[in-house]
């Protein structure tokens, strides 16, 4: 389905970004969100991408997730070029390979927790049962609650369950704790870490909160659309050890 022309040197990399740039016009102002970015992500790693607001991190995660297209540069997923994919190929890519967690949870308010997860399991190829996904995030007692009946942390855990239920290869979390308090935030990070550890899902968390970096295998920092830091943690902290 996707272009399979790339070489095998980077077969270890789940995701490979080469010379990626993105600019868009805001009114009459040209905003350069990403500038010639090159990056690889490896299977099973938990990466945290840090950056202040406006640093381009949301743009990057959207491009990785197939929600947005770059102005130039290429993106390969398992060697297949995502940036050359058609609309239906992108849909299939998102459907099969990508799990999204958003800052504002973005649950469908008219569907219950279980139904929000089923939204994904109904269209994915080999999903885990929706109930199991909710159990994984510790919400087995909340199946039939609607978003409005859940706390922020619970809603975010439903969102995580929804993202992981399809057994994605790549879990993309955009400020997953941004709308949550400290305690609840840590609980959510716990779930993400658990998914990464137990399911081996390659996970990318983007956040402005530098403390979260402690739980990552790898920490990157984005500043004005450019990568200013890319390091590996020697030890991964458990989310419960994080402080901010």
């Amino acid at each position: 389905m996707l272009d399979n022309s790339s070489d095998n040197d980077h077969s270890q990399a789940v995701l490979r970004i080469t010379d990626l740039s993105k600019f868009y016009m805001m009114g009459e102002v040209r905003v350069e969100a990403l500038k010639h970015l090159s990056l690889d992500f490896y299977a099973g790693e938990l990466a945290v991408l840090l950056g202040a607001s406006g640093s381009g991190k949301s743009t990057l995660i959207n491009i990785i997730g197939g929600l947005d297209t770059p102005s130039s540069g290429k993106l390969f997923f398992h060697g297949r070029e995502i940036t050359a994919a058609t609309e239906s190929e992108l849909t299939a890519y998102r459907r099969r390979s990508i799990g999204f967690v958003f800052q504002f949870y973005n649950l469908i308010s008219s569907l219950s927790a279980l139904e929000n997860v089923q939204l994904v399991t109904e269209i994915a190829e080999d999903p885990m049962p929706a109930e199991e996904a909710l159990k994984l995030v510790g919400l087995e007692h909340r199946f039939n609650h609607f978003p409005a009946q859940l706390s922020g942390g619970e809603q975010q855990r439903v969102a995580i369950a929804r993202a992981v239920a399809k057994r994605p290869e790549l879990l993309l979390c955009d400020e997953p704790t941004g709308a949550l308090d400290f305690q609840t935030g840590k609980l959510v990070l716990d779930v993400i870490e658990k998914v990464n550890r137990e399911l081996g899902t390659t996970t990318l968390i983007i956040t402005h909160n530098a403390s979260i970096a402690g739980m990552a295998d790898r920490v990157m920092r984005l500043r004005s659309g450019e990568l200013s830091e890319d390091r590996r943690n020697l030890t991964r902290l458990s989310p419960s050890e994080l402080v901010w």
């Binding site: 997730g65 947005d68 849909t91 099969r96 990508i98 958003f102 973005n106 994904v120 109904e122 269209i123």
Partner: protein, 787 residues
């Protein structure tokens, strides 16, 4: 995709008010279409079946008296399939229980029952017995209106002799589906009926043995009616033929054909308006829905739903209410159609008026409404499909406000803040505001157009029964009388005023166009009969020349100043030329008026009179009626008052029903448009209004901002709606006009007041509903939600 369907259903439930409004509008449109198209089909099918089973003729002709052996000649005309001769005569009746005289049209039937053209359907009782000359079969509406049954007796003055007739059967004929007295336009069931009597009895009564005065024939397939008519005219001119004519000039058929045509206009016109409004409603509701669900659309796409999935999902929001409306509309339409059909059964006398509910029509209308829903939803669905998911994650960019016309310092100072918000909001989206105004004004317009027919018929009654006519009684003579004979009427005790006219059948010719028509020669237009056009304007009788109704002038293609060829069909059958002195736009029929003296001169026969208008002393009416009932030489009697009453009764019933239906539908439309507009506004502005509340504005103040905007739109829509309503009525009047009648374009203040009141009430009610929602606004929650 069960979860997505569940989301669809739950979201629909949340939007149930708006969706019900859409469904109601669709239901109105569909029900009009389904009922009217079923009625149209049923009328057409019933007519076709009736005509073929009872052998309704294709060509008709009345002559003064022609020898029976000419039938043979006629049947040899190429293309004539069958031919039938009859004796037809109008006589005065003495109906038990009716003071006034009535008129019977006597039509001859074979003594022994054999199939004939324009055959008789015996509804109850039996056919006449041979050898019993006093037996008659009588038309159903007349018997029913007079509460007579087979077995009863009725008096008739046949050729000057009073006879007691025995009613043996109740009958109907395709020739009299619309049963009116010659010269009248509306049925008066009590005072006019058709009587079928043995040919033999009528022959001897009217001294017509071996002769006939009425001919009907059917044509073989593919034969030119015009050719046959020409040959008939050539043969029978010398026998006083009034000219042969086809079905299109047969009064009863003409009325039904016009009715079917008018139903056809209603089928296209009303559902069209309703579907257009449904398109608009779906458009605004779905656009708003897509705007509020931007983030949900983004999520659906992010988790792997394709554009088609998302598009179909939002299309569902249009299709489900439409489907609900289609089902409800079909059911309502089936029911309405049956009711309307019963109403038609009052006007039209079919042997069998079968209501056929056609699923083809339902399928067509349902398809049409789905197409409309698709059109309405397309913009929003397209937006949902094209929405790039990454962009949808970001909140919609704030709407651009720029200083507008009302922001000029001088104006601004005088305007309170809340009013400024209203004005700016309207100014910012003039397109949306104009569409809302247009939609509300359409509802106003339908109300106006719906009640317009009321005013129009009122005017019709006013002109036809009051302004044009001052007489109480019209006596129609069976043979033209000399002026001296006619004036004997003046000596009758109780006759206060008397006036006569001549009705002369002619063929008018101008260039290649010609038409069978009668000329009415009047003594004056200032006495008992006046000349009044549809706008109520009085005309004088031209001293010289001929005055034509505009419709007739249009058919002949003549203009005032032209010279018209006149071929007299009776008497000396002279061909003359006469100046068209003017035209008059009358409500009913086609007419040509002339000064009686001039008409007499043109005819070259020293003068003849066909009828008398009499104004009578009410206290002596009883005695006069008795005299009229016995008077020889009188073919028909028309009572103006009775005609008016019968007209009003008949029209009032159908008019009330149709106006009620139309008004209810217009109310539904008005409510749907106004309520939806307010709901959309509320959803768009909830956040802003809550912020204002948080900042300290009162419930009343924010209600003013939201409802004030709606009120302003409604106020603009009302005068616009009046204008559109007038235009719509003019269009309707034009479309519904025929040779039989033209609806005058009149509007009473009451019409506008009614439309105004309905819209105000509907707006207030929807305002109250919205107000309730405003009170329920959760300030904190609204401020928390991201938008």
């Amino acid at each position: 995709m069960k979860s997505l369907q569940r989301k669809l259903l739950r979201d629909l439930m949340r939007l149930k008010g708006q969706m019900l409004a859409v469904a109601a509008v669709v239901a109105c449109g569909i029900s009009v279409f389904v009922s009217m198209s079923s009625v149209q089909y049923s009328l057409e099918a019933s007519r076709a079946r009736y005509y073929s089973r009872y052998r309704f003729a294709d060509v008709f002709m009345q002559v003064k008296r022609a020898p029976e052996f000419y039938l043979e000649t006629v049947s040899r005309i190429a293309g004539v399939a069958s031919v039938n001769s009859r004796i037809v005569a109008d006589v005065t009746l003495d109906v038990p229980g009716l003071d006034e005289p009535a008129t019977g049209r006597f039509v001859s039937i074979p003594e022994y029952r054999t199939p004939v053209l324009n055959d008789l359907f015996i509804k109850s009782g039996r056919y006449i017995d041979p050898g019993k000359p006093d037996e008659v079969v009588v038309s159903k509406p007349f018997l029913e209106a007079n509460r007579l049954v087979p077995g009863d007796h009725i008096g008739a003055v046949i050729n000057g002799r009073k006879r007691e007739l025995l009613i043996v059967g109740m009958g109907l004929s395709p020739e009299y589906i619309y049963e009116v007295q010659p010269g009248a336009f509306f049925p008066d069931k009590r005072r006019f009926g058709v009587f079928w009597m043995s040919r033999k009895a009528l022959e001897s009564a009217f001294d017509m043995s071996g002769a006939f005065n009425d001919l009907s024939l059917t044509l073989a397939n593919g034969v030119s009616e015009k050719d046959v008519i020409m040959q008939l005219d050539n043969i029978f001119t010398r026998y006083g033929s009034l000219g042969a004519y086809g079905r299109s000039e047969q009064l009863s058929d003409r009325f039904i054909t016009d009715e079917i045509k008018q139903v056809g206009i209603q089928i296209t016109f009303l559902p069209g308006v309703f579907l257009a409004v449904a398109v608009f409603l779906l458009n605004i509701v779905l656009r708003r829905l897509v705007a509020t669900q931007r983030d949900q659309i983004a999520v659906l796409k992010a988790i792997g739903y394709s554009n088609e999935d998302v598009g179909l999902h939002y299309l569902g929001f249009a299709m489900i209410p439409t489907a609900v409306g289609a089902v409800a509309g079909t059911a309502l339409g089936a029911w309405l159609g049956r009711g309307l059909m019963d109403m038609y059964a009052d006007f039209y006398n079919f042997a069998e008026l079968v209501y056929t509910f056609r699923f083809e029509n339902v399928a067509f209308s349902v398809l049409l409404s789905f197409a409309a829903a698709l059109v309405g939803a397309l913009g929003a669905v397209r937006k949902a499909v094209l929405l790039p998911p990454a962009e949808a994650m970001r909140p919609d960019s704030p709407v651009l406000y720029k200083p507008g016309f009302f922001d000029r310092a001088s104006l601004r100072k005088k305007m309170p803040l809340s009013l400024r918000i209203i004005v700016r909001n309207l100014e910012r989206r003039p397109w949306k505001a104009s569409i809302s105004v247009l939609m509300i004004s359409l509802a106003v317009a339908i109300l106006v157009a719906g009640r317009y027919t009321y005013d129009s018929v009122d005017r019709m009654v006013q002109v036809e029964f009051t302004e044009k006519h001052r007489e109480d009684v019209t006596l129609i003579f069976n043979n033209p009388k000399s002026p001296s004979v006619a004036w004997n009427l003046a000596s009758l005790d109780g006759v206060l005023e008397h006036e006569y006219y001549r009705e002369e059948p002619v063929r008018m010719r101008f260039g290649h166009r010609f038409r069978r028509q009668s000329i009415k020669g009047m003594q004056s237009a200032e006495g008992l009969q006046h000349l009044v056009d549809k706008n109520g304007q009085h005309f004088t009788l031209p001293p010289d020349g001929i005055l034509l109704t505009s419709a007739l002038a249009g058919i002949l293609g003549v203009r005032p100043g032209d010279r018209l060829q006149i071929e007299f069909l009776q008497g000396r059958q002279l061909h003359r030329e006469v100046l068209v002195s003017g035209t008059i736009d009358e409500i009913l029929g086609l007419s040509a008026y002339m000064n009686l003296g001039q008409l007499n001169r043109l005819a070259g026969d020293g003068g003849a009179l066909n009828a008398a208008y009499l104004r009578i002393d009410k206290t002596k009416a009883g005695a006069l009626y008795t005299t009229f009932k016995k008077m020889p030489g009188v073919a028909g009697i028309m009572m103006l008052k009775a005609l008016q009453e019968s007209f009003e009764e008949l029209i009032a019933k159908s008019m009330t029903t149709s106006t009620l239906i139309l008004t209810s539908f217009a109310c539904v439309l008005a409510f749907a448009v106004v309520y939806n507009g307010a709901r959309i506004s509320l959803s768009e502005r909830a956040r802003e209004l809550s912020s204002l509340r948080v900042l300290g504005m009162s419930q009343g103040e924010i209600s003013f901002i939201l409802l004030g905007e709606q009120a302003l739109l409604t106020l603009c829509a009302i005068p616009a709606g009046f204008m559109i309503g007038i235009a719509l009525s003019a269009l309707l009047a034009h479309a519904l006009s025929s040779e039989l009648y033209r609806l005058p374009l009149v509007f009473s203040a009451y019409n506008f007041l009614f439309a105004f009141t309905v819209i105000v009430v509907v707006s207030v009610v929807s305002g109250l509903v919205i107000r309730k929602r405003l009170t329920a606004l959760d300030l904190v929650e609204v401020l928390k939600t991201r938008e």
